[in-house]
């Protein structure tokens, strides 16, 4: 006796018999080749599905970050949309602290002005001044991430002694100014018969990549209140940062419940419905494509199972005469399909993260940032994508395996064995 053991004596027949059929050997090469082709298609389809989901998710994250980047997740305004300012904002702080999902709040005041270079002979440009408390804005937005030159620290330092300003990159470019240059904030209305001008110095330049860069500038809140001619308890609104950017709409509802009808609550999603609608469409198309791809794999798999059922029907008949129950035979052959499919899926699960890392690291798929707000296709693969793809494929593989092999119940073993 050359060998003492065999897998069949230990492992379930439902595993060992299909495994024997999968091995490449003489007389079995066609079956092996078709199995391998199906395995490969399962691999490709799963990898494509993961890439599609990761790309959609990446676009979702990047565009969401862009849209909400220098803004808070949720904004609180006076309920009357014609009312420019709200007063007594400090009294809202304790109420907002009641909402557990709130991470930070930052009051702001927006006013219109013109900016005029004081070192160059440039024309004044209209700008939107946003007055902020820098320490709070750092916590409530991602403004820090968008500062290209200078930093918020110097902005903070300078606000104690002078009037610093953070300029959008487009505005700085049009004014032909750079960091530490001086300029004038010009309020167009007359005050005591004079146009008011406020000398300021550029403490930093930010770039968001969207239109805000061409008209937005930040100054300290107290200075903005002075320029706007309002009291120190008056602001345009309050920005709120929640724990989850993508759940800003839910947070907005909670804030509305907490503050009541005196205030209008907006979240970044409700402010950007068109872009989000586009992303949602992209996501839905991906999911439809995903199931189209699944369908392809399942058709391949059904074909191979029908082929193997036909090829191995004599073996099946033998197993039935030996007392194997049709359900167990069906399970064994369904498992064969599962084995092929799962192997392909497993390879895809191993390879896809590596491919995605390469795509992200080398920014393989570049995009025109002025059109799509992002400069390359960012792939963000998450555990939920593996679960979504893996579980749905597993379910479909089992279903197709069982349905395709249902013919086992109709086999007449003795007729097959007599005729073959």
């Amino acid at each position: 006796m050359k060998r003492k053991r065999t897998l069949i004596q230990w492992a379930p027949l439902a595993l060992t018999i299909p495994a024997k059929y999968l091995l490449p050997k003489r007389g079995n090469l066609l079956f092996f080749a078709i199995s391998f082709a199906t395995l490969f298609s399962a691999f490709i389809c799963t990898a494509v599905a993961l890439l599609a989901l990761a790309a959609t998710n990446g676009a979702d994250i990047k565009i969401s970050e862009k849209l909400s980047g220098i803004d808070s997740h949720v904004l609180v305004f006076p309920s009357d949309q014609y009312q420019t300012y709200m007063s007594g904002f400090q009294k809202l702080t304790p109420k907002l602290k009641e909402v557990p999902e709130i991470v930070a709040i930052s009051p702001f005041l927006v006013c219109e002005a013109q900016l005029q270079s004081s070192v160059h002979d440039a024309k004044p440009l209209p700008a939107t001044l946003k007055g902020i408390i820098a320490e709070q804005e750092i916590s409530a937005t991602n403004l820090v991430d968008y500062i290209e030159q200078g930093n918020l620290l110097s902005f903070l330092e300078k606000s104690k002694t002078e009037l610093p300003i953070l300029l959008g990159a487009g505005l700085a470019q049009n004014l032909n100014l750079s960091i530490d240059d001086e300029l004038l904030i010009v309020r167009p209305e007359l005050f005591n018969g004079e146009i008011r001008k406020f000398p300021t110095k550029i403490a930093g330049i930010f770039r968001t990549g969207i239109g805000l860069d061409y008209h937005l500038a930040y100054i300290p809140l107290d200075q903005a209140q002075l320029i706007a001619g309002v009291g120190d308890s008056t602001v345009t609104g309050i920005g709120i940062k929640g724990k989850d950017l993508l759940k800003a709409d839910q947070l907005a509802m909670k804030v509305k419940k907490e503050l009541g009808d005196k205030y209008r609550i907006e979240d970044w999603k409700s402010i950007n419905p068109n872009v989000l609608g586009g992303i949602s469409l992209l996501r839905n198309v991906s999911i439809i494509l995903l199931y189209g791809v699944y369908l392809l794999v399942l058709v391949c798999l059904s074909c191979i199972l029908l082929l193997v059922l036909h090829e191995k029907r004599r073996d099946i008949a033998v197993l039935l005469t030996l007392g194997m129950k049709p359900f167990h035979v069906q399970r064994a052959f369904a498992f064969l399909g599962l084995l092929i499919g799962v192997t392909g899926i497993a390879f895809a699960f191993l390879v896809s993260p590596i491919v995605i890392w390469v795509f992200n690291e080398y920014k393989i798929f570049a995009l025109p940032p002025e059109v799509l707000m992002i400069d390359y296709v960012h792939f963000a693969l998450e555990l939920k994508h593996f679960l979504m793809v893996g579980l749905s494929e597993l379910f479909l593989l089992i279903l197709v395996g069982l349905l395709t092999t249902i013919g086992v119940y109709r086999l007449k073993p003795m007729v097959i064995l007599r005729d073959e």
Partner: protein, 227 residues
């Protein structure tokens, strides 16, 4: 001790065809005893395989009853029949029908695995049965590496490894030369010593003559005959 193993009462079976139903077996009565080899002879298409199908619980009769001992098997569910087949019936075919992807010993231990037995016991029992049929040196041979006689021996080993009550053999010598057919006939005859009944459907009159009883199937009816 009651030696009656299988009792068949008024067993009928017909198959649908374009011309209507064709009656293959008509109100057959049959008694199979332990320690006995019984032959079923008849021309091709006379219904020998159909009768073995019914005796082996692979098909259901239109009417009539089959008893294994005192237990009526015609009323059992499909699942119970599969269990019954596994534990009490062994099959041997004209073309051996070994699974070509498996070694001899793996083919033989299949019924044990189906019965839920696993581990070293399966290997020991399969090896012992293969030794009983003089194939102890062919445990790890694939069917393609065996002669026709050796393949039939492996098939017999597979059929008896679970110690069934009856062995049903459909033309067991049909594919063998006369010398090998004689060896297989000896082997089948020896099995009756294991408290086993052997039923062979055959055209081989030599084999039929070695049986304790011989029945001829003709026009759907079974009658005892002398081959």
């Amino acid at each position: 001790m009651n030696s009656d193993l299988i009792t068949v009462n008024k067993l009928s079976k017909s198959y649908p065809s374009r011309q209507g139903k064709i009656s293959v077996l008509y109100e057959i009565d049959l008694l199979i005893k332990k320690f006995e080899m019984t032959a079923i002879v008849g021309v091709s298409g006379s219904g020998k395989t159909t009768l073995l199908n019914l005796l082996g619980c692979l098909d259901r009769p239109d009417s009539g009853k089959i008893f294994y001992g005192s237990e009526e098997v015609t009323t059992l569910s499909n699942m119970e029949l599969a269990d019954y087949r596994n534990r009490h019936v062994g099959f041997v075919f004209q073309r051996f029908h070994l699974i070509p992807d498996l070694f001899s010993v793996e083919n033989v231990l299949l019924p044990l695995r189906i019965a839920g037995i696993s581990g070293t016991e399966t290997m020991e029992r399969a090896a012992k049965v293969l030794k009983d049929v003089d194939l102890e040196d062919k445990l790890w041979s694939k069917p393609s590496e065996l002669s026709a006689g050796q393949m039939q021996r492996v098939a017999i080993a597979r059929a008896i490894v679970n110690s069934p009550r009856v062995l049903l053999a459909d033309e067991p010598t049909g594919n063998l030369d006369s010398s090998t057919a004689n060896e297989i006939a000896n082997l089948l005859e020896n099995l009756t010593a294991r408290e086993m009944a052997v039923v062979v459907a055959t055209h081989n009159l030599e084999l039929a003559r070695r049986c304790a009883k011989c029945y001829e199937l003709k026009n759907g009816r079974l009658q005892e005959t002398n081959p």
